[in-house]
């Protein structure tokens, strides 16, 4: 197996061994998954995105796709990117939207050793002493409000906001694949009218639409990950966040439809993925935000340059 295969295999093994329903439920009540966190650290994921690791940055984003598959209840994107930006191997770094005075939507801000605030304009602030108000997103993931007394460092980064958006793109791509798998399994098992519901054409068509949307989303996500460090990175993230977000609307809706009432229960695991999808598509820019950015750029190039923009090599 090559290095990438080994890395993704390790991630898959750890996440699948530990991210069961009980762990996800516990995390939603505010219980931090210490053991899993320790394992991830032991296996070297904390420093994976750091320049010193000499691992290409794309690998970190591919790991996030695996994290999405298992709804990993840890701020892995923030740990990876925070350590990269600050060039240090902190225990727990949290990243939210904000500036030198504080940040909102900070995953696990309440336990973080360091909190970083990023803005669309590219400012990246490492906050000094801070106070935390706890909160959650609609998936029950901790998203805290942090108010800072001071700022330790303030830098400008062209890519920080896009990298955060890409983290959500990759998480969504993984979760979309999982939602498709769960749905495929369910429609094969659930029987009505004396046969599996997968035998009904209406259900087959729902599944075909989901499969197509998931395939498009995954292809869009992979393309954005491949654009890292290229000169179209921002624009490819824009395209991916838009395309993947659109898939989420379709796939989450159909997944629940084919799961019937069972998928609406708290007991079923489907909602751990669909609620995250609904939360992540809003974080670091909705589809509309990125569509406007991408469209403004393309319109600025002019009608006769439109095709050239689409016929990219990568």
């Amino acid at each position: 197996m090559d290095t990438r295969g080994l890395l993704l295999d390790t991630a898959t093994r750890i996440f699948s061994d530990h991210c069961d329903k009980a762990l996800l439920d516990a995390a939603e009540t505010g219980e931090f998954p210490e053991r899993l966190f320790g394992l991830i650290r032991e296996n070297g994921f904390h420093g994976l995105a750091m320049t010193a690791s000499e691992v290409p940055l794309i690998e970190s984003f591919l790991v996030l796709k695996v994290a999405g598959r298992f709804a990993l209840p840890l701020p892995l994107a923030e740990i990876l990117l925070g350590n990269r930006w600050l060039d240090r191997d902190d225990r727990l770094i949290a990243i939210g939207i904000g500036d030198a005075t504080g940040a909102r939507n900070v995953p696990w801000g309440r336990l973080a050793d360091s909190v970083v605030a990023v803005r669309e304009s590219g400012e990246v602030a490492l906050l000094g002493d801070f106070t935390v108000t706890e909160g959650t997103n609609l998936a029950g993931e901790p998203r805290d409000r942090v108010v800072a007394d001071s700022v330790e460092s303030l830098e400008l980064s062209d890519d920080a906001f896009s990298e955060m958006a890409l983290s959500r793109v990759m998480l969504m791509a993984g979760a979309l694949e999982r939602v498709l798998e769960l749905s495929l399994q369910y429609v094969g098992e659930r029987e009505q009218f004396g046969r599996p519901i997968s035998r009904f054409q209406a259900i087959q068509h729902h599944m075909a639409v989901m499969a197509a949307e998931v395939a498009a989303a995954v292809r869009a996500a992979d393309a954005a990950a491949q654009a890292i460090e290229g000169d179209r990175f921002f624009l490819e993230v824009a395209a991916a966040k838009s395309r993947v977000g659109e898939s989420v609307s379709v796939v989450a809706e159909l997944a629940h439809q084919v799961h019937g009432a069972m998928g609406f229960t708290h007991e079923h695991q489907l909602h751990h993925f669909t609620r995250r999808l609904w939360a992540w598509r809003d974080e670091f820019g909705t589809e509309l935000y990125w569509q406007t950015a991408l469209g403004s750029h393309v319109a600025g190039l002019g009608a006769d340059a439109l095709w050239e923009f689409i016929a990219t090599r990568g």
Partner: protein
């Protein structure tokens, strides 16, 4: 789950792209009015020019006039032609599927007879699958070909055959044995000379005002014995093998592309947020679709037959082609029905909207494609 690998087009393909663009610039007069629907412009002279460049039958062996280029190079040529709105209809079917079919199943004599003319852009083919009572259920064809001493005698009616009134040959799917319990048995593909054999071709006007598709009547039409493609009775295997070629190309998501181009022109470089957002949304779709289509070209290049992946690209692509005019019309507050700055947009928008019902029908309906995908998912 279907896998669409990331593929970077090879350098050779990008070089070719430059040549195609240069050629298209030199042919500007033929490109007006540009429309990226692959069936709207039938221009034999243009096809001959393309043939002269070696851009038809590009992947075929040199022995038959081909260029032995890769599927990626073919991909680049086809997408550049469509994006520019070039009139490609005349040679499109021959290049896309009739030629590859003959290469795979045809006799040596058939290959030598038809393929070089196709690559020169002088020999055009149409498809004769559908009939009055046969649409999605292709195996139900009733047109018969009966073996006689002098050849095959054909009786029946083919319907919707695009460009049959101006192309040279038709590949018809016919019954050569009576229907049996095995619906897929006893079918054959046979070449009809549309000018010589005596089949009656009647053009049918479509709702967009075009006369592209046709009804073809076969009343005791006799064709020589050597027109059968492959083994008699093997028609079903053969006809389904065309599907990956037929369904995965850029013509399955670019039909409405010029609408976006003219929309961008009309809203200008400082587009309002509402317009910009719709442009961004469309571009995001196009980038993903194109990458998926290139992934399928990669599978064809590896000799695979990616039927399910092709159906998936076509299903997504056709829905997008229909969505695009709907999206842009609501992305401006200007009255485009009555405004000079919008006249080019209005023209291509109207054309495309009128053609749009066909996008999710031709080449396999959306519902049939969803069935193919569902089978690929193991649900059928």
């Amino acid at each position: 789950m279907q896998q669409f690998d990331s593929i970077q087009l090879p350098e050779s393909a990008e070089q070719l792209r430059g040549e195609v663009r240069e050629f298209l610039t030199s042919q500007a007069a033929r490109l007006s009015p540009p429309n990226s629907d692959f069936t709207t412009g039938h221009d034999p002279e243009f096809s001959r020019l393309l043939g002269g460049r070696g851009w038809i039958g590009m992947t075929w062996p040199r022995a038959y006039g081909g260029a032995e280029r890769s599927f990626f190079e073919r991909y680049v040529v086809t997408e550049e032609l469509l994006a520019a709105g070039a009139p490609v209809s005349a040679h499109w079917i021959a290049d896309r599927q009739s030629g590859p079919l003959l290469l795979r199943f045809g006799s040596e004599a058939q290959r030598s007879r038809y393929l070089p003319g196709i690559t020169r852009g002088e020999c055009f083919f149409s498809i004769g699958m559908s009939e009055p009572n046969t649409g999605s259920d292709l195996a139900s064809v009733r047109t018969t070909a009966t073996k006689e001493v002098e050849g095959w005698r054909i009786n029946g009616t083919k319907l919707w055959s695009t460009d049959a009134h101006r192309n040279h040959f038709l590949i018809a799917l016919v019954r050569t044995e009576p229907a049996s319990d095995n619906r897929h048995a006893g079918l054959s593909q046979i070449i009809v000379d549309l000018r010589e054999d005596g089949a009656k071709v009647r053009p049918i006007r479509n709702m967009a005002g075009g006369q592209d598709f046709n009804e073809i009547l076969f009343d005791e039409v006799l064709v020589p014995e050597d027109r059968i493609i492959g083994e008699p009775g093997n028609g079903w295997q053969q006809v389904t093998s065309e599907l990956a070629y037929e369904r995965s190309g850029p013509e399955r998501f670019l039909s409405a592309f010029r609408v976006l181009v003219e929309f961008v022109r009309a809203v200008g470089p400082d587009a309002e947020p509402r317009a910009a957002a719709v442009v961004g949304r469309a571009v995001a779709h196009l980038l993903a679709l194109r990458r998926m289509s290139i992934s399928v070209a990669g599978m064809l290049e590896q000799g695979k037959s990616p039927d399910v992946e092709a159906a998936l690209v076509k299903a997504l692509g056709n829905d997008f082609e229909k969505l695009l005019p709907e999206m842009v019309r609501l992305a401006t507050l200007e009255d485009f029905t009555n405004n000079d700055r919008w006249s080019d947009f209005r023209e291509v928008y109207s054309d495309t909207l009128l053609l749009s019902p066909s996008f999710t029908l031709r080449g396999g309906t959306r519902e049939i494609l969803r069935g193919v995908i569902a089978r690929g998912l193991g649900l059928r």
